[in-house]
Amino acid sequence: MFLHARCFAAALCTAVLLAGCGGDERGDKGKALDFADQDAFPSTYTIPESKPVLIRGATLLTGTDEQLDNTDLLLADGKIARIGKGLKAPKDALVIDGHDKWVTPGIIDVHSHLGDYPAPAIESSQDGNEMTSPNTAEVWAEHSVWTQDPQFALALAGGVTTLQILPGSANLFGGRSVTLKNVPGRSVQDMKFPGAPYGLKMACGENPKRVYGSKGMAPSTRMGNVAGYRKAWIAAAAYKKKWEDYAKNGGEKPERDLQLETLAGVLDGLILVHNHCYRGEEMAVMMDIANEFGFHIAAFHHAVEAYKVADLLAKNHVCAAMWADWWGFKHEAFDMTPANIAIVDHAKACAMIHSDDAVGIQHLNQETAKAMTAGQRAGFDIQPKDAVKWMTLNPAKALGIDDQTGSLEKGKMADVVLWSGNPFSVYSKAEKVYIDGELMYDRDNKKRQPHSDFDLGILDAKGERP
């Protein structure tokens, strides 16, 4: 998975660079194709200059299988600058006493609908599921994001620094996802993780066949689902070839097709597939389809039965995003074991926690703790140093941003959480949350806690929502 993610990131950077050179008015001949259309709605996220921060003497869970006790961490210029004992504070540094406190990388939720399903959840705000056709690969989740959703700030207080917003799961192809830094922004572009690959949401199983089957149209069965995927990939391959021929040979410029652009972007390795898929055998089918058409599935989401095919996931370098303990709400969620994540991890596949939920996203540390405990009870030797990557580095891998964030390593983005104690205790809280070295949330300082426009004056004309 490492390799795959890096390849994608490299391909992506190339595309961005070429787009940046821009201004090619002579036609597209000879130009690298950007099926992912990276520059249409570019990130406007900026990293403000902030003073260096030195956290002294904390317990560090690095996200790379290490627990460093009584260790210092220096954040400077938005990056993790140094990790070690007895570090010297730069002149203008803010020094924080980290004794009895713990530090982890910022939490990354690979599956969120914040902004698309905001609070309050009234009819007019349900913007997460374009349930009008089995294939809506042309829609982009970012175009539904209400940046003033008060749920973003609640997730931040839970230590979430990065999150992927996915369109919903009614469709075989739900549309594009977007990866956001969890920072306040007036436009969604102000929140976009610079250079993060787009994702394509796909869905297996009960949802698409129920939604469209109940309308008397395809798909109404799981085999109908699969026929729908394959049909679309055939069209995408033809579309991709048409544009590649045009880039190579010139001639009449093909017409753009938003739906096929996204799918071709997947075939080109620019867009990562995030596949809602519960059952083991369906995951196996999906991996076969990926092999048939030559693309890669970044991650299965809601993978309640990932444990049954953990070895296959490892072999195919496919991540699995799982809940700690959700089950039973539908048949494909019936075979749950809380040891799911641990079993997948033990099989050397990329295992991670995810929320799909505005409450769950605030407590991913607790969710991870439950999964860790279930793993220990199953007989695996799993400690906090191992489990922490289920909520940091592994979701970063699935999002193709693990070379930039997800672990406490020199040179990575300073996305860091300072916890009041062991993050796997129900009593611990995120005290300070840094994103690119900037203090975005401070539990001890009300002035450093973001409130959305919605929160203002909502209970009391002069106050914020508590």
Binding site: P120, D311, W326, F329, D335, T337, A339, H363, Q366, S425
Partner: protein
Amino acid sequence: MNTRINTIILNCALVLGLASAAAQADTLLIKGGKVYTLANAGTLKSADVLVRDGHVEAVGAGLDAQADKVIDASGKIVTPGVIAADTLLGLTEIGAAMSTNDDAAVEGDNTKNVQIGTSYDPLPAYNPHSTLIPFNRAGGVTRAMVIPDSQQKIFAGRGFAIELNGDFDSVVGKNLVQRIYLGESGAQLAGGSRAVAYAQLRQALNEAREYAANRDAIRRGDWRDLQLPLSDLEALQPLVNGREVMLVKANRASDILQTIKLAQEFKLRLVIDGAAEGWMVAKQLAAAKVPVVIDAMDNLPIAFESLGARLDNAALLNRAGVQVLISGPPGSLATYNAYLARQGAGNAVANGMPYEAALKAISRNVAQVFGIDGGTIEPGAVADIVVWSGDPLEVTSYAEQVLIDGVPQSLVSRSTRLRDRYLTPQPGHEAAYKF
């Protein structure tokens, strides 16, 4: 070592033909744990609990007692079993599979004019062999309230209580509660306005009183036409008599106040369910002695009726003197994962609720409010007891021993069996032969 001695004793008993008496393990001693009695004795740092015939006989340090079975709880935490405040246990198997759900009376194409409202009693549908029961039992839940939902009326019907031993006779209380929806959900069910829902409730209560005073004439048909069917009027009698709890869904502070007023007027045993903005009217709830069932992790302004939702709701209500019951996670997960009431209680403590108050909120308070056994470890109490690996409110702790009526329970579930089958998944068909 004790266990071994007891085994020897048991074997001797078998030889002597005393098998049946000894095998029942009528006495059981839980030794040396930190015991949260949730009763007058408070918390005992290291104590023994003696259980006889399904009940607690004695609690104290160094009890000098012989027992048929001994559980070593040293270094462990001992509490009463968790009592789930609001579930559909035994009424649902898979949420999205209609055939497996008996949680509500539904009027649909095949069921025109289903008139069941207050009289809906899901008890005949109860299945003690539900797969949800062993799973939650293994999580430390020993008893639960089973309260129907509604999809068409503000009245959902009547709830009962179960113990989670999976036995056919595991119902431990019938007709304990009537669920009623006010607030936003009530407005939807009633026809678009909170005021309509409120008027429907008021009318039903008035008719129930009228029925009580003129039962014979009404049953003879010698009376004015009433809106509610006789079965519904009959079902409301325990409610208007104050024998049954009225569990009212309400989140907005103003809805809560309105409901308190109604309950006082009709002298009802009101419990508020939801109470996201309960903290705003905590004083009034306390003064009216109205308990609340809350989701302690609910802090989303997810509806305009719960804009004030906050994580310290439980702490603020408790501080004001309101009796707080903490339910499991929201929605259907409150049934599938009823045991997660513990996580909710842990978060309540993290946000200011005193520890023992939070333990009571998932155990003793539930028993008290609905009038069932359980929730304390004291002489005479039913022996529903859990020995925990550590702090039961921590997400990293788990139940090591679960006793219901003094009987040690199996902690195996579908979930543990699936785990064991696929612990190291591999190709081939051998997994299917692994039990």
